[in-house]
């Protein structure tokens, strides 16, 4: 009978904590740039000239129909072959931003499409420039409408950081691999890692929903759930 042995936990605790921090760091560093990129691309697809629309569509389809890991390899090994040396953390974040930007673009596009025409007309009546109308009227409303979808997308992105150990970024999964190669306790190690990811996913969800509570005062006053 197989005997479970979790004693590695105490020996490798500092490594595990480092791994958790790196996973959190990658996630936090990617969320805002990814969101901004996605919003810009969504606007380009909806309002841009024919070329901007075409490029934005190609970008979104290319990213959404290929695996993240291939994108990461392409970027990381590709840059290395051009003698451009970026660290694995930077490469991971760039890849995540480019990847999540495409998914965010689709979500934000749906968000922009739900905004009633009257809002845009009201904005132009107040002589807001198209840019002002976009920043002050449309983006906040679009974000509010699609916020739950954005949260799910960023949680998925956090889970996807687990492959960054493939380019030797020692995040949580990378640390797990290192521990199991020393202890030969693969099953226990990955069970613990699974629970850690579950905790991180819940934490990220709570934090992002908390941010929504603070930043959408209208929602709070009306007590409408997200």
């Amino acid at each position: 009978m197989y005997e479970f042995d979790f004693s590695f936990l105490s020996d490798y605790l500092p490594d595990l904590i480092n791994g958790v921090w790196l996973t959190i760091g990658m996630t936090v560093a990617s969320i805002l740039p990814g969101f901004l990129l996605g919003t810009v691309v969504a606007v380009a697809r909806l309002r841009g000239g024919p070329w901007a629309q075409r490029i934005a569509t190609i970008y979104v389809e290319a990213i959404r129909n290929t695996p993240l890991i291939i994108q990461v390899f392409w970027l990381f090994f590709g840059l290395a072959s051009l003698q451009v040396h970026v660290g694995s953390f930077a490469a991971a974040v760039i890849a995540l931003v480019i990847n999540v930007g495409a998914y965010t673009a689709e979500i934000m596009r749906a968000g922009f499409q739900t905004i009633p025409r009257g809002q845009l007309e009201a904005a132009s009546c107040l002589s807001l420039s198209p840019f002002q109308s976009l920043v002050y009227i449309e983006v906040p409303q679009a974000v509010e409408r699609v916020y739950p979808a954005l949260v799910s997308q960023f949680v998925l992105m956090m889970l996807a950081t687990s492959i960054m150990s493939q380019i030797s970024a020692e995040e949580l999964t990378g640390v797990a691999y290192m521990i199991q190669s020393f202890t030969f306790r693969g099953f226990e190690v990955y069970l613990v890692i699974a629970v850690l990811y579950l905790g991180l996913a819940s934490l990220l969800r709570v934090v992002l929903l908390g941010i929504a509570e603070v930043s959408f005062p209208r929602r709070r006053r009306l007590r409408t759930p997200l």
Binding site: P67, F73, F77, I163, T173, F187, Y190, A201
Partner: protein, 214 residues
Amino acid sequence: MLGLTVQQIAYIFQGAGWTIVLSLLGFVGGTIFGLPLALARSARARWLRVISSGLVQFIQGVPLPVIMFVVYFGISIGGFEVPALVAAGLAMTLYAGAYLGEIWKGCIQAVPKTQWEAAECLALTKPQRFVHVILPQALRIAIPPTVGFLVQIVKNTSYAVVINFFDLTYSAKVINNSTFKPFTVFTIAALIYFAICFPMSVMARRFERKLHRN
């Protein structure tokens, strides 16, 4: 050709074949696992719903590579020596089942309640109501999101590379290691993935529009 030999390109395509095999395994396994899960998620018994939703949340909250490792090492502590395909197939089954179960639960619940009531008025038994009235309607609703999820399955088989399963990602990695032409190699791999996934994405969108028109 492109600085690669014919054998090297053939090797990459060989990996693509295994990606398709693993995707099919994941979809078939995911259906077998996801269908009862969808039923349990929309069952009347409370304990069934609690257990199934807990299972779904666990699988959806853990990265697929970690599921791959858990299954891989889990099988090996059982004293079995199995090829990576079995471990990867099992992990894909768990992963796809959890998501397909959620999708299909939504489709079952999207069938209007009056259909259940009408079926009951016609004195159909409960299994009859489900099989003859609800299921055909739920299936129609389920087609677009299911095809859309197939794209996710194909893309996510690439995570099997962590347990050294020989798929398209793995074969591309091997060829890159020996030739060090990352742009060429990974562009070819990306194009193959794209050629598999993009038609399905387009199809999913087309089905979606068709469903909304009716």
